[in-house]
Symmetry: C2
Subunit: 598 residues, 2 copies
Amino acid sequence: MTVVEKLEALRSLMNEKNMAAYIVPADDFHGSEYVGDYFKAREYMSGFTGSAGTLVVLPDRACLWTDGRYFLQADAQLQGSTIELMKAGQPGVPEIADFLADSLKENDCIGFDGRTVTSHFVQELSKKTDVKKISFSGEEDLVGMIWKERPQMSMEPVWELDVKYAGMTREEKLASLRERMKEEKADVIILAALDEIAWLLNLRGNDVKCTPVFLAYMVIDQNRAVLCAHEEILSEDIRKKLSDAGIEVMPYEGAAQILKELSEGKTILADGDKVNYQLVKSIPENVAQKDIQSPVMLMKAVKNPREMENIRNAHIKDGVAVTRFIYWLKNNAGKEKITEISAAEKLEAFRAQQEGFIGPSFQSIIGYGAHGAIIHYAATEETNVQIEEKSFCLADTGGHYLEGTTDVTRTIVMGELTDEERKMYTLVLRGHLNLGAAKFVYGVCGPNLDSIAREPLWEYGLDYNHGTGHGVGHILSVHEGPQRFHWNANPAAKSAALEEGMVISDEPGVYLAGKFGIRHENLVLCRKGEKNEYGQFMYFEELTMVPFDTEAIDVSLITEKELAHLNAYHQKVYYAISPYLEGEELEWLKKVTRPLTK
Amino acid sequence: MTVVEKLEALRSLMNEKNMAAYIVPADDFHGSEYVGDYFKAREYMSGFTGSAGTLVVLPDRACLWTDGRYFLQADAQLQGSTIELMKAGQPGVPEIADFLADSLKENDCIGFDGRTVTSHFVQELSKKTDVKKISFSGEEDLVGMIWKERPQMSMEPVWELDVKYAGMTREEKLASLRERMKEEKADVIILAALDEIAWLLNLRGNDVKCTPVFLAYMVIDQNRAVLCAHEEILSEDIRKKLSDAGIEVMPYEGAAQILKELSEGKTILADGDKVNYQLVKSIPENVAQKDIQSPVMLMKAVKNPREMENIRNAHIKDGVAVTRFIYWLKNNAGKEKITEISAAEKLEAFRAQQEGFIGPSFQSIIGYGAHGAIIHYAATEETNVQIEEKSFCLADTGGHYLEGTTDVTRTIVMGELTDEERKMYTLVLRGHLNLGAAKFVYGVCGPNLDSIAREPLWEYGLDYNHGTGHGVGHILSVHEGPQRFHWNANPAAKSAALEEGMVISDEPGVYLAGKFGIRHENLVLCRKGEKNEYGQFMYFEELTMVPFDTEAIDVSLITEKELAHLNAYHQKVYYAISPYLEGEELEWLKKVTRPLTK
């Protein structure tokens, strides 16, 4: 079927069901960052392959909202589809809710697959549409009725993350969650975020690209804990272990039914940012929903001592791999044909040599020259270019190891640099170093510290259009909350104190379109420092162990203090990874980590 | 009557009215920072004279909550009163709501004068007490029934702030407010904050200490604007002007009645942080309350161009007065007897010599030596000490002028300093200078920038237990929102972008108990800078024109950039105020504003 035919088929179903609009999001049933092929309903219906974007179909129009990263791509892919591109955030482009409030008539009905949107999404929608008494129908997956050749839902085997990696048994985690539920006066909790479930159970899977999680829900009260998952993904051994921990297994599709059967007067904790609309709708009227942030989010974000120790080791392994890659790239570009794609493959090969490597933690961003200025660049066969002996190569990559997850960006000097390139490299590095060296009292949140990283750029009228840092999961999603460095963060990040044990990235950048991009990223671990009459002081311990390319630093632009911090970091890097390097690689490490002076 | 007798009288009334608890706050009916004598019900009932603190009376107990500033004073003043001191914020001390939830029985009733608490206060209270189905009675002022010799409510004459000072006519302000009401889809608005009403009407009064406002409410819709105020305070001339602007005058006590008569189906904007409980209760059930921040708060915080120009002039006058004071203090301490109190009087005399001076904008804080470490110190006859020729004298003072309001802190070197004193002085100055020099993109809020001022102290394990800055009203309250520099700010400050025209203080400090205190405070004006592809850049223009005492600066601890900023500031100060100084004062200004080098 062509896109036009698919839209006609959808409209005919909409007509049958009395729906005046149908929303097709790009999400799975769990709000995952990446989704499996089964869930790519928006891509199937529109032909647009970008990771973000929502299709809205009306009887006489179809519109697709996507963000700035995808305007060019969407424009090309929507040619001939009759779908109008809505450039989200551009002047004059309405938000979906306003568009629907405007386009629909009184008492119209909006349809969608209620499993693909969160309860909060529908709440926001209804705020705008309730003046017209618009109703919602979330029961029917109309795309599923059209999509004959739909791929199977992923059902990859689940594997056990040994307690020597996880640091706590699943029994301990469950007990701790039940304590939190008591504090929140919640009788029951529903978990839908895949990383929360994987963390709680010390299980990992392979149902979501780059994220070792598996499709599941959990419903937990003080006596029962029910895992709803596809039967096929759990081995006998894992079933036995779950059973030993008092965890029952039920079908993946059974979660809604469990909620429907909750007894009167109970209170269920259901995080409306995570739990999908259909599940929330399944909660009986006489059961109270406590719609607050899932307590597992914070429990998971605060790494335990064993996890911290393991994560340090993972970063040493990763540091060895990335350092070898940088040396190889700097010494072979120009001598042999190296492209963005082949470089990414080479880096993955270096990582794969490390014991315990599982796979990449996200799709590698290797952007050479002007491609470095495209923040979410991922080289394709069409865009792939050869890396030459000039300008910068920006490499933002990461890996999952049994001991932890990494995410590192280095901006690598490929040859002669312009003064502008050196200046920008140095300013971004100043922001990166200053945030990494920050000391602060307990209670401070990421948005309070973001300006420390941006100030050296703001001073020159520069900025970057992304957060300065995100939380990082432990062999889970490389992006996790609640912690975040961004002045413009959501309320959760604004009120999430930086806790000892949180892992967060420190990654300011600068992007000159058509010229080059610079980003410097380390992961840091939040730690407790001295405690005195002013409070509990906190600081960041650097986890990433990869040298910065000192060739690009303009020492006239950097302060003594910043230089001292860089030198101390390079010394730590040297001691951490030099035992695993030899010959030319070791010599280069020695050279690049040598203290700089003004 | 003794406090014990007063409590018994109150309990007998409580018994009569079936109230199981009665709350006596320290507030007037408008949530003002300072209150007139009429409103000092808590002081009357308890004997405790501190500005902050709430009394809760039960049949068998009475407890008074106050904060750390007042623990010693309250402890002394409550001796023999049978009232227990509750040290708010100390471990094991419950909050009032928790205490009441714990102490009361099911279906009990809590009483209070509903005019002395905000609607939000009662909402928070009911969250904790509704498990016991506690009810509230806010109709009766029981203290008023006991307090025979209660002072009259203040009814000082209202005066006109000419449009040449206000920059906009009251008609223009009303029209602008009505536009904002339309945007918020509010038919009516109730204003209760005294500074909002004074600002809107270009009127000032004298009913609240240090704050030129008058007791009033306003109710405004698209056709009518009603001012509820004591008849006596409005002259014929002002009544005529109000009438010309379409503003009706009704009795101060009449606001509740106007609300009761609102017609069905209307929506009223009533900011539950500002409007008292009794007024909110007067809104009929069939009228919707829109409980959001009063739009006047932001309108008032963003100064218009005329106000900005006037404020700059007020600061030049104030700079002359404060600079003369500093020179006088440094040259006469030790030669004549100068105490904290006489110094404050001298400074007020210097200010009074300036044309257009109205009065102090808050109670002067002149703290010599160890008194400088008491953040909210105000010298009394008991604590007053002579200022000698050593250590620091901290002077935090301000004035209202017809052209604007000032607030400045200088830490004045009185003689030999220790290395510790010089180090602390320099570290605080670094924070002050760095925040003042901050450049940032539009959208950033105060809590995002606070860390810039604290970082030089945090680095050494130091901090200060107060905000780094507060908004400043225009011949209104010296403390206004929504803008604020504090990482731990309330949600309003966290989401209040710094707008061009906002005035805010920049005042980090350090306080070594028993030794000395240091604070450096300028007021700054938020301004628009360059606009480019990264956004609209903003910066701060210094308003305060008073030199820092350079004798205390340890240049080895300050960066080149910070020194350059200080030198540029001192040059501006010199050009602004030198025309108004002569002789020795001018010579000293020349000396103290000379550029420093490392």
